[in-house]
Amino acid sequence: MIWQLFISFFRIGLFTFGGGYAMIPLIEREVIDRRGWVAREEFLELLTIAQSAPGPISLNTSVFVGYKVRGLLGAVAAILGVVIPSFVVILIVAIFFANIRHNEVVDAAFKAMRPAVVALIVAPVIGLAGTLNLWLVAVAALVAVAVWWLGWSPIYLLLAGAAAGIAWSVWSARKEGRG
């Protein structure tokens, strides 16, 4: 069972490019439909938790599925399965990239890939901003300026956001209680 977990997540890790949300359908197919390790409903509930916890979503998902199936050992087997393919591939790239970095063709390709990469980062910002109200878009814009222009650490801003969110929910619960 442990070995099976490792192999399943190894496959998931190997065949998901771009990471994150692209992995979810693959994980669903493997652990729900093919293996029947987790019920669909439970999977979706835990997925919500995995999305709000820190860390890459695929990693978080592998931990909870592994844990559900085989406890701590299962979680470790699943996370190793997800990480090892990407670790090995990037290590190989890193070892060889240093040698070809100053190659004319590689250099030309990377010059063009850099702005494309920036576009891929801008795209989700637009999508996510659409899910926020105007006040929260303003908060997001202030955060962007603070991190980009003023060089503030995003960590403090995350902590401040969490604190503000907790204060807000306590305050609105109290208001409800009174009314």
């Binding site: 190997l14 490019f17 771009g18 990471g19 994150g20 509930e45 999305q51 916890a53 820190p54 860390g55 890459p56 979503i57 695929s58 990693l59 978080n60 909870f64 844990y67 979680a75 996370i79 990480v83 393919p85 990407s86 670790f87 591939v89 990037i90 290590l91 790239v93 890193a94 250099d107 030309a108 010059k111 063009a112 890939m113 850099r114 702005p115 494309a116 990469v117 920036v118 576009a119 891929l120 980062i121 801008v122 795209a123 910002v125 926020l132 878009v137 908060v139 814009a141 955060v143 300026v145 991190v147 995003p154 995350l158 401040a160 956001g161 969490a162 907790i166 807000w168 929910s169 306590v170």
Partner: protein, 178 residues
């Protein structure tokens, strides 16, 4: 010493990596490029490009790559382990105490409060790559850069596979810059 620094930096990135891959870029950028100065803005953009066309989440990819650049194979293992450690421990606790947390007001308040911060962090990551602090780290070098940026943004909006978009710009770069 370098291994300890790598470990601490990536532990921090893993621990505060709310909001998934793209939000983590901002943390990595702040920690690795701005504070530690281990790599430049252009090298950072290169790592993201490589990460887009190789399997696995960007946080893991960048940990392995930067770890190798700074501390060889041992460095890559240390950084990758460090970035995974918080996800492993926190998710184990969350899975175990899932039912207690599910309807907890504080947890859902904190998650809601972090959401706009995460959006701002992703925007900051993009802005830092567009306008780096020193000009010789520029990722936008001419009109072609902006054209490829616009084309890729349109492609992403139309839900074209990001691997195809990156490979397309690589080919365009070879044609334009060779």
């Amino acid at each position: 010493m370098i291994y300890l620094q790598l470990f601490i930096s990536y532990l921090k990135i893993g621990f505060f990596g709310f909001g998934g891959g793209y939000a983590m870029l901002s943390l990595i950028q702040n920690e690795i490029v701005e504070q530690r100065g281990w790599i430049t803005a252009s090298e950072f953009a290169d790592i993201i490009a490589v990460s887009q066309i190789t399997p696995g989440p960007i946080a893991i990819n960048s940990a392995t790559y930067i770890g190798y650049t700074i501390g060889g194979i041992a460095g890559s293992a240390v950084a990758t382990f460090a970035v995974c450690l918080p996800a492993l421990t926190i998710m184990l606790l969350l899975t175990r105490f899932f039912l207690l947390l599910k309807s907890n007001r504080y947890v859902s308040g904190a998650v809601a409060g972090m959401k706009p911060v995460v959006v701002g962090m992703i925007a900051a990551a993009a802005l830092l790559l567009m306008f780096p602090q020193s000009a010789d780290e520029a990722n936008f070098i001419d009109g072609w850069s902006w054209a490829l940026f616009a084309l890729t943004l349109l492609g992403a909006y139309k839900k074209v596979n990001p691997i195809l978009l990156i490979l397309f710009s690589a080919v365009a770069g070879i044609v334009v810059y060779m």
